[in-house]
């Protein structure tokens, strides 16, 4: 009976020894660091340094309220799209279709509002509902094709990018719809509340809601889990397919919101005006620390990843430098960010 030696007295001392190698528990300071994650902290510092630099050289132009609000408005539409893309990329997915869906949703909303006619708040709400529904429908299609049919998201969303843009052009005959309600442009597009542009307020609400959802709800937890190890989710009885469909639908719905705000800001459907939004959004999300390999990332990083290129572009313009340098810089940073992420993944495999 050799095996009967162990059970009782081996329980506390020797048994626990190999398992006791506990890491130092997280201090409050480290916890806050964890919320921001190292990458977000670094990005925040980059943002502060950039802002300080541009402000020091052109104190008369860069740090002025008008300029800051302008940057906020510039970042707003991209950020609304990026909130959805953060969820998608955390699941190991990608959504290239956001700008097509944005334009399509804007066209549907414009058509609906023009058809109803008038300027009342009811008209504006119907327009918003139409934009969200149109966007969510494309998202649903994306999610279904990715999760149910198992087609790679890169291909699915490249396909729906072309399809949604194509349908937008078919519906409008290639001519922008510009007779959108003036009340929309005046309220959502250029309106302000306590001095803050409505666009920025809408974007802030979307970003904060997205951040809370990602971090504190079961939906957010499943988003991380599905990107981290889908097989583990399935074995834990989580319906990964249904969850992915929801995530792509959310991204589509937010592209609808983006289409609505674009309509409000530019007073037209901007058929040709969002051609690289999808790439800018993905770049921002990835620079913000969300991993293309899934399972990791966050909304704070995404906000910073979207804002920094906008600040950079604005700063170059204000400084009188060729603004094309912004594209060069963002491209290089994007490659660097993914390389760093790969390095991190490699070291943790060991």
């Amino acid at each position: 009976m050799t095996k009967s030696i162990a059970p009782m007295n081996g329980l506390t001392a020797s048994a626990n020894a190999p398992l006791d190698i506990q890491r130092p528990s997280a201090s409050p300071a480290r916890r806050i660091g964890g919320v921001l994650s190292n990458q977000s902290t670094a990005l925040f510092i980059v943002l502060v340094v950039l802002a300080a630099f541009f402000s020091a050289i052109r104190p008369d132009a860069f740090p002025q309220i008008a300029n800051v609000l302008n940057m906020g408005a510039d970042a707003s539409i991209l950020l609304i799209l990026a909130v959805g893309s953060t969820f998608v990329i955390i699941t190991r997915g990608i959504d290239l279709s956001v700008n097509g869906v944005l334009v399509f949703s804007g066209v549907i909303a414009a058509k609906a509002m023009v058809a109803i006619g008038g300027e009342g708040p009811y008209v504006l709400l119907v327009g918003l509902a139409c934009a969200i529904a149109a966007g969510a429908a494309w998202g649903l299609l994306n999610g279904f094709l990715v999760a149910k049919a198992g087609i790679p998201p890169l291909i699915v969303t490249l396909g729906t990018l072309g399809m949604s843009l194509g349908f937008a052009l078919l519906i409008t005959g290639g001519v922008d719809i510009s007779d959108v309600p003036e009340s929309l442009v005046l309220s959502v597009g250029s309106g302000r509340l306590a001095g803050i542009p409505i666009l920025v307020i809408i974007t802030a609400i979307v970003a904060v809601a997205g951040a809370l959802m990602l971090r504190f709800t079961r939906f957010g937890r499943y988003t991380y889990a599905a990107g981290s190890n889908p097989e583990a989710c399935r074995r834990a009885s989580i319906n990964v397919t249904a969850h992915l469909i929801k995530v792509y639908s959310l991204a589509g719905a937010l592209a609808g919101v983006g289409g609505y705000t674009s309509l409000a800001r530019f007073a037209t459907t901007t058929l040709g005006g969002h051609l690289t939004d999808n790439l800018q959004v993905i770049a921002g999300v990835v620079i913000g620390g969300t991993s293309l390999f899934g399972g990791a990332g966050g909304m704070v990083g995404t906000v910073l990843g979207i804002i920094i290129p906008v600040v950079l572009l604005n700063g170059f313009v204000v400084l009188g430098l060729p603004p094309f340098w912004q594209q060069v810089a963002v491209g290089a940073v994007l490659i660097g960010a993914v390389y760093l992420d790969q390095l991190r993944r490699k070291t943790r495999e060991r």
Partner: protein, 254 residues
């Protein structure tokens, strides 16, 4: 160990096309017992465990849980019967912390309005996980992501998760295959503690000395059939190897 086995399988047959994976395997495990399932590659161990844990369905044969006929159509069915499985790849989400993994698919929501909005009660899950870990004698940092843990700690987290939710039995496929010596000892102790808590543990392993060390009873499979069973205290590695290769099993007592 009560007279009635907790889980009993008789005449389990499973074929995949022309391949006969199981040709009538018998199996039983009681409460508070560690049973090891051994056999050469292709003997049908994994297939049998997949059937008993609801991942696969037999072509013939019957499974009884607590004496009652059971038809597992999915792992969820087996889980509802209190049977948890620790997979060889552990099935953990490396980016989530240990507590989130323990509660994966079983998240506790906050009460009231926040709960209806799907807000997680992270503090409560962490507390409950801590209590379960303490009971099992597993000391891992529950707020640490799984990828930051060592191999042994990950294995412990997976076993502890199964032990926390299993009300009757845990199946483990090669639970120590990827571990070092010290870590292996830790997991084996954990297995004993789970057994001492009155649960049935079923173990697949190629490591015969380890099987002899931790198991109470050993069931030998060969070419899809049960060769026989023997108390771990009444056999040795040589006899087990002989049983696995030739199909003859004798115990010292016989």
């Amino acid at each position: 160990m009560s007279d009635l086995p907790l889980i009993e399988a008789r005449g389990i047959v499973r074929h995949f096309g022309h391949v006969q994976a199981l040709k009538g395997a018998d199996f039983s495990v009681g409460r508070g017992e560690v049973v090891a399932l051994i056999g050469d590659n292709g003997a049908g161990k994994s297939t049998l465990v997949r059937i008993l844990s609801g991942t696969d369905r037999p072509n013939d044969g019957e499974i009884r849980v607590n004496g009652r006929l059971a038809h597992f159509k999915s792992p969820q069915d087996a889980r509802a019967a209190g049977i948890e499985t620790v997979y060889q790849d552990l099935a953990l989400a490396p980016d989530l912390d240990a507590s989130a993994n323990v509660f994966l698919g079983r998240e506790i929501l906050k009460s009231g309005l926040l709960g209806h909005l799907g807000v997680l009660d992270t503090a409560r899950m962490r507390r409950e996980a801590a209590v379960a870990m303490e009971r099992l004698g597993v000391a891992i940092n529950l707020s640490s992501e799984i990828f930051k843990l060592s191999g042994g700690q990950r294995q412990s987290a997976a076993v502890a998760r199964a032990a926390m939710w299993a009300t009757s039995a845990i199946f483990m496929d090669e639970p120590t295959a990827a571990l070092g010596v010290v870590q292996t000892l830790g997991v084996l102790d954990l297995i004993r503690r789970v057994r001492d808590a009155g649960k049935a543990v079923v173990l697949i392993s190629h490591n015969l000395p380890q099987v002899l060390e931790v198991a109470d009873r050993i069931i030998v499979l060969r070419l899809g059939r049960t060769v026989g069973q023997v108390a771990a205290s009444e056999t040795n590695v040589d006899d087990l190897v002989k049983a696995m290769t030739s199909g003859e099993l004798r115990s010292k007592a016989a």
